[in-house]
């Protein structure tokens, strides 16, 4: 009996030769425990060494392997081929980002956004000596913990209708990260200057697709809505900065 296989239709784009991306088909073994990423690795190792894609941890934590699988942004190391029945499965680069090559997209814009929200503890005065920690109760930790779980996988940007139209939109993950620090009891900033902008929280039309696709349950949509409330209050009561 021939082993079962599944067809993967994979987007190929080599800027030196292709004017635009084309789909190339490969048959790969269909094994119950194979993720989409295992299928791509099989292509690269055994069928076609020229296919380029990013991956590393294959345990859903490094954030490298986000791609568009059958039209949905997914982590390919945690998406199983078996989900797609008899196939075929279409694998494309994440939408909304410039494509560098094949399934590899340019995320440098996001890194610049990340820096812009001051993603570090902002404090006043001298740093105390390294003999004791800042106290933080479990409840205070819980207040921001969820927003600290982002792996920068970019799925939320790819799903965001605002970002896809306006690449300057600060976007879900960067705003969630800003909130992660805003809500940290050890932090003294509210990042109002970078968040209270049309290209930041006010650009969000609350579609909520970011939260739906986030593989780490960060809930960036909630982070944005919460900051809108904070920002609105602060505009009414200018001294209410925290």
């Amino acid at each position: 009996m021939a082993a079962e296989t599944i067809r993967l239709d994979v987007a190929r784009y080599r800027p030196e030769e292709d004017a635009e991306p084309v789909l190339q088909s490969y048959e790969v073994p269909l094994r119950p425990d194979w993720a989409v990423l295992d299928g791509l690795a099989h292509i690269k190792d055994h069928l076609d060494g020229t296919l380029s894609f990013r991956w590393s941890c294959r345990m859903g934590i490094c954030g490298s392997c986000g791609m568009d699988v059958d039209g949905e942004p997914r982590l390919t190391c945690g998406t199983f081929l078996a989900e797609y029945g008899a196939g075929p499965v279409r694998i494309e680069p994440l939408k909304g980002f410039p494509v560098i090559r094949d399934l590899v997209v340019d995320i440098d814009g996001f890194l610049a956004k990340l820096s812009s929200v001051r993603p570090w503890l902002v404090r006043e005065g001298e740093e105390p000596p390294l003999t004791a920690e800042y106290a933080q109760t479990p409840a205070q930790l819980d207040a921001y913990k969820q927003y600290s779980m982002c792996i920068n996988c970019m799925l939320c940007y790819s799903a965001c209708p605002v970002y896809v139209l306006d690449p300057d939109f600060l976007g879900p993950a960067a705003i969630a990260l800003a909130q992660r620090y805003n809500l940290d009891s050890r932090d003294m900033d509210d990042r109002f200057d970078v968040l209270n902008l049309e290209e930041a929280v006010w650009g969000c039309t609350f579609v909520g697709d970011c939260t739906r696709v986030c593989p780490k349950h960060v809930d960036p949509a909630e982070a944005i809505q919460r900051y809108k409330v904070t920002a609105a209050l602060r505009s009414v009561l200018p001294w209410s900065g925290r």
Partner: protein
Amino acid sequence: MIDVLIVGGGGAGLRAAIAVAETAPELTVAVVSKVYPMRSHTVSAEGGAAGVIGIDDSLDEHCYDTVSGGDWLCDQDAVEAFVREAPRELIQLEHWGCPWSREPDGRVAVRPFGGMKRLRTWYAADKTGFHLLHTLFQTTLRHPWIRRYDEWYVTSLVVDDGRVHGVVALDLRTGRVEAIPARAVVLATGGCGRVFPFTTNAAIKTGDGMALAYRAGAPLKDMEFVQYHPTGLPFTGILITEAARAEGGWLLNRDGYRYLQDYDLGTPTPTPKLRSMELGPRDRLSQAFVHEQDKGRTIDTPYGPVVHLDLRHLGAAKIDARIPFVRELCRSYQNLDPATDLIPVRPVVHYMMGGVHTDLDGATTIAGLYAAGETACVSINGANRLGSNSLPEILVFGRRAGLAAAAFARSHREGEPPAVRSQGDDERRRLERARDGSSVGSSGGERIADLRERMQHTLEGAAGIYRTGDALAKAVDTLADLCERAGEARVEDTSATFNTELITLLELRAMLDVARTIVACALGREESRGAHQRVDFPARDDDAYLAHSLVHRAPDGTPSVGLMPVTITCWPPGERVYGR
């Protein structure tokens, strides 16, 4: 010209970069990394980071646990420095925002860990490495003058007259090959678990830094010591953290029996007892698995024999509070729920105790070249690393190497020697030939993946948990042959843009160099110690081998192994006692 160039954006590299940026703002510092820093393998670390903080704990005890855990092959002066500085590094991380798990009163919480006599492992649930790496990365963003070369692959070190002058690197996005001149270079490239077929290690852990140093003439140390972690998921090799056992998990054989009691690791108790049973050291636990397998008491699966990790008695609430990632991983990758199901696990290659030989400041034998983190061997891990010692190690020695490299750069202000340019040009030509296929022809040559698979199976067969001289001697020849064939492997991809096939080939060559040193050192050490178990020499032999293996690359490319004394300060060699 860059003052301090750091190769690697994992925990060790970023800690080094921050150390330079904060203490020597007049120096230029750059981080070159083959992946975006926050993708580095440190992100996968789960269980925690050890540092003495409890009032019932002491630096002495952490030292003793580390030295006995390492079967007395650790350099004790290095262990003392490490243990002394680890707590301040962990507090420093806290001050930078790391979300450590907490006690109700707001203090940082600590958990037990394998081989540790006290509660001293700090943790951020079971995503410690993830939080640690993102905290470090975000802290580097405060220092915009830390220049980054993201997705640049370093292909060689520029060394002239016994001194490093920079690196040659390939920009993945454009395919450009550039010499980057630097006054001091810090290698922080991580481990090399990918030389084995079944590993917890990410795809990027290919031993590049070890190979770079070794080819440039710096020796590697203790390469035979490869850590198997006792609990990896079959097929994927995904790690189930030791924290699962620290929180009370049991290891069961096919009869549901806690088999570790048969291997001098203590008697079972319902709740975990420190340095006993499931909280014994990793080498002993992985070896016990092999004996269970020999006795026919493991369970067969399509991916090899397994035993069971039982967390069911902990209950869903505790699992969710303390080890939520374990539950997430089991559900996503093994289709089971640890709150109600047994987890199949087997030993899996996890960590390299060996690496580039350095002193306590990360200095190698090449002037201006430093190494830190898993790629280095200081050595604090000896013949077997204790879980949760590696994360503090990358912080303590990342910082030390950064400071030492900054001091070196300050006192060596000469300009760029001609070697930088000429070696850069040579390397560019060599890589372009490999890429356009003219050196090998895209139709000829073997597939990279086929050669890699052979290498991995050779290593697993000869340098696994138990080893024999015969198998190792054969592996020496097999690997030499594979090395030659890798010189002519097929590259189909001629594109300059994001050519990952070329990178895969360069990684394979690095792994082969490293693999040869592992096998050579394992063949040379005719005793059993820690993670190195020779069936033909089953006892520890302190008279002959209380010494580090030091391996140089001979001019013909073969590894040449010698011995170097171990530094003993306070803890003379003794018996490793667990569970009694």
